[in-house]
Amino acid sequence: MTPPAAGRSLEGDEPSPDSGDAHHPGSTARRGASAAEITLDLQARINGMQASRLDSRRLPTVPALARILPGGGLQSGGSYAVRNSTFLAMAMLAGPSATGAWCSVVGMPDFSVEAAQAFGINLERLILVPDPGAQWLPVTAALVDVVSIVLTRSPDHLTPTEEARLKARLRQRGAALITLGAWKPSDSTIGVAESAWEGLGSGTGHLRARSMKITATQPSGRLRHAYVQLTDLHGAPAGTASQGAVLPQGSQDDGRPDASGPAAGTLFEPRLLKSS
């Protein structure tokens, strides 16, 4: 599984994926920059090189997400921001959890374990720390040491140094960090752009199914999207590893970054309402 060289060099711009194109790797010694900025820049390049060394290691991912995530799936050592959907965050935990990985949820007292189980997350291997209080960083760092995936509210008030250290730790341990809410240093931001529920009338029925348009930012700054049903996001039941199903699609997508949208668009008509 070797992604093309282009993908690798793009991932090198990790600290600022949003402005990845503007930031040429060679611009570290830009004139007028302070010593601290140069240090940060160099650090970013080192991190980038470390990232490229690890990108062949991929965590098992739910196929529907593997199609749109950069690199064709969750990268170990990567960090992902989920914009507005806990369901999506659960779907990201579901793949690794179904293959026996330990997952952890930090600082989310409202996380519904029942929905998590419906997604195929093994509750026996799900560690919840609902209230880390002021010790968010030490707790998250300690968990990154031992579990494969950490889901957390997006941390505010982290200094750039702390962010860099956390990311380095993620890479070192091969864990993935998923934040609910935007987090600037994340490798990719995933979100639900449009959504429609089925089964509910006016005063009748009950919620049955949900169709979503999910989007993921790529290292290039572009957006890849897919139309999925809520049930597509459910992980494989434990025992049947989704690895085999993921890899071919991942490799296919790496070649043509934006092609998955139309291909998957046959799931349902894009007659969705615009998300606010």
Partner: protein, 550 residues
């Protein structure tokens, strides 16, 4: 239990040695110490009840054992508890706990071991001692028994019977035979050496404890142990096999069993006294650390690891705090100190001073397992070990109750269906037993939520508002009818006004209508125009957000 002291044959010589199996080893001269009604004695001592209390121990709804006072009122074993209560009005009933018997018999064995070596605990309330050595040391068997009586009286145990005979079986029968003696006589029966067969001869066959053999022998016309012992040993062996041969030896007073003395168990618990009492948790943790290390080292030297322990804390004001802690793997010294600290802190992790100083910490291993079963493999023992170390670190930062695993229980409201278990309380992978409530999720639970489970279930209810197209709050009347269709809603106090795209409800939930704490709720599902769905509750004219499908 004998039905009455049987009339004995007058000629003991007839039984001595004449029918002994050839080549049998001489039986070990044995003293058997018997405490009648041990479960009752144990329960009275444990619960500090007066000795003449009418007490019954209940096992599965029936009387398992009863004290003499209760027996006088007509209570007997096997009676239903209601019937026993009707017969004896002042009856105290306690559940029967076999482990209590074992636990309270231990001090008795220790007291006997202090004066006579080589004690074998047969079962709670009954132990056997080889008497040859002690009888020589104390001068006679009677003197040795007197020493035992005195030693047990010193720990407050007076109702003790002793039988001395050849072999444990005969000695046990002798000890039980003391029941037939008068109360003012010493509770001691000594059968002289070689007289055991004579002593046992008139006992019925039932005392052998082999019902099938007993029935068969009775059909053959053999009614007592004496008749049985009169048979030839080789014939018995040929006809009744090994079991018959063993029974024959017991009946002949040549018990094959030897008294296997137990090795007194090492003291694995640890006790730390603090003088002056310690008033701060960090002081205590520091002072106890060495003891915790010794505790773990002692276990390790014995080839054991501890997977559950009891911590008892005594304070200056006389309070005690007791708790059992489990460990997903096994305790090392830091874990023990952590448990002591958490027990003092309660659930919150704040470091506060204690209400009164701690004078004593007692740590008792509740479950020990073989070190070999827990040793690290040659290539490490997989990821779980690492997981545990990491989570223990987080627990020591935040407190025991801050790191949780969850199980899904039964219930109608979503928050009820989520049950948290602190990490380590119920080992992952095993059936959690203590903390999980009886609510079973596989019960029907009418009124539970259909469709996919929402992703966000608010731990604390969030106030919401729902209005109709004219801006009036939507409500449900006592007949369950909706005042108007909802048109706008806001999910949360800071949420903007969302137009309703589709909705369903009200779904009534009437929980525990017989209970003042029961709740009457109406549930609604609402989807706004942006396609996000919410689950709202209407209780007592107020709207709450129960969950969000985000």
């Amino acid at each position: 239990m004998t039905s009455g002291l049987p009339a004995r044959p007058t000629d003991p010589a007839r039984f001595t040695g004449s029918t002994q199996p050839s080549g049998a080893a001489p039986a070990t001269r044995t003293m058997v110490l018997w405490c009648p009604d041990w479960p009752i004695t144990a329960a009275l001592r444990e619960h500090a009840l007066p000795a003449d209390a009418a007490l019954v121990l209940v096992d599965r709804g029936e009387v398992f054992a009863c004290s003499p006072a209760a027996r006088q009122d007509g209570v007997k074993r096997g009676l239903r508890i209601r019937e026993a209560q009707a017969r004896s009005t002042g009856l105290v009933s306690l559940p029967y706990d076999p482990s209590l018997d074992e636990r309270t018999f231990e001090p008795v064995i220790v007291a006997v071991e202090a004066i006579l070596p080589g004690v074998q605990a047969l079962r709670p309330g009954l132990c056997a001692i080889r008497i040859k050595g002690p009888s020589r040391y104390y001068g006679s068997e009677r003197n040795a028994a007197d020493v035992v009586f005195q030693a047990l009286a010193a720990i407050g145990l007076t109702d003790v019977r002793i039988g001395i005979a050849d072999g444990p079986f005969a000695a046990e029968q002798a000890a039980r035979a003391t029941d037939e003696l008068d109360d003012d006589v010493e509770q001691l029966v000594i059968i002289p050496p070689g007289g055991s067969a004579w002593f046992l001869a008139s006992y019925p066959l039932e005392v052998l404890g082999q019902p099938r053999l007993t029935v068969l022998l009775k059909r053959l016309g053999i009614r007592s142990l004496g008749d049985f012992a009169a048979l030839k040993a080789s014939d018995v062996r040929n006809r009744f096999g090994i079991e018959g041969a063993i029974a024959h030896r017991q009946a002949s007073g040549v018990d094959h069993r030897r008294v296997v003395a137990r090795t007194p168990p090492p003291h694995l618990d640890t006790l730390a006294d603090f003088e002056p009492p310690l008033a701060r948790i960090d002081q205590l943790a520091f002072a106890f650390r060495t003891r915790a290390g010794e505790f773990v080292d002692t276990l390790r030297e014995a080839g054991l690891v501890c997977t559950a322990l009891h911590v008892t804390l005594h304070t200056e004001s006389g309070e005690t705090s007791e708790r059992r802690w489990q460990h997903p793997r096994w305790f090392d010294a830091d874990d023990v100190v952590d448990r002591v600290r958490w027990q003092l802190q309660g659930t919150n992790a704040t470091d506060h001073g204690l209400t009164s100083g701690i004078t004593r910490v007692h740590v008792v291993p509740a479950i020990v397992e073989d070190l070999g079963d827990h040793a690290d493999g040659l290539w490490g023992t997989g990821p779980d070990e690492g997981i545990h170390h990491g989570l223990a670190r987080v627990q020591s930062m935040l407190g025991h109750g801050a790191v949780l695993t969850a199980v899904i229980a039964g219930g109608r409201l979503l928050a009820d269906r989520r049950v948290y278990i602190p990490w380590g309380d119920a080992p992952a992978g095993r059936q959690p037993s203590a903390k999980v409530p009886a609510r079973d999720r596989h019960q029907p639970w009418p009124g539970r939520l259909p469709g996919p489970a929402p992703a966000t279930v608010y731990a604390a209810p969030v106030p919401a508002a729902v209005v109709d197209s004219r801006g009036n709050p939507v409500d449900v009347d006592s007949r369950g009818l909706l005042s108007a269709d909802p048109a706008f809603f806001s999910a949360g106090p800071d949420d903007g006004r969302r137009p309703v795209h589709s909705w369903a409800g009200p779904w009534p939930i009437n929980e525990r209508w017989w209970d003042p704490k029961g709740r009457v709720l109406n549930r609604f599902q609402l989807v706004d125009r942006s396609g996000s769905a919410w689950l709202l509750l209407l209780e007592d004219h107020a709207w709450w957000v129960e969950a969000g499908y985000d």
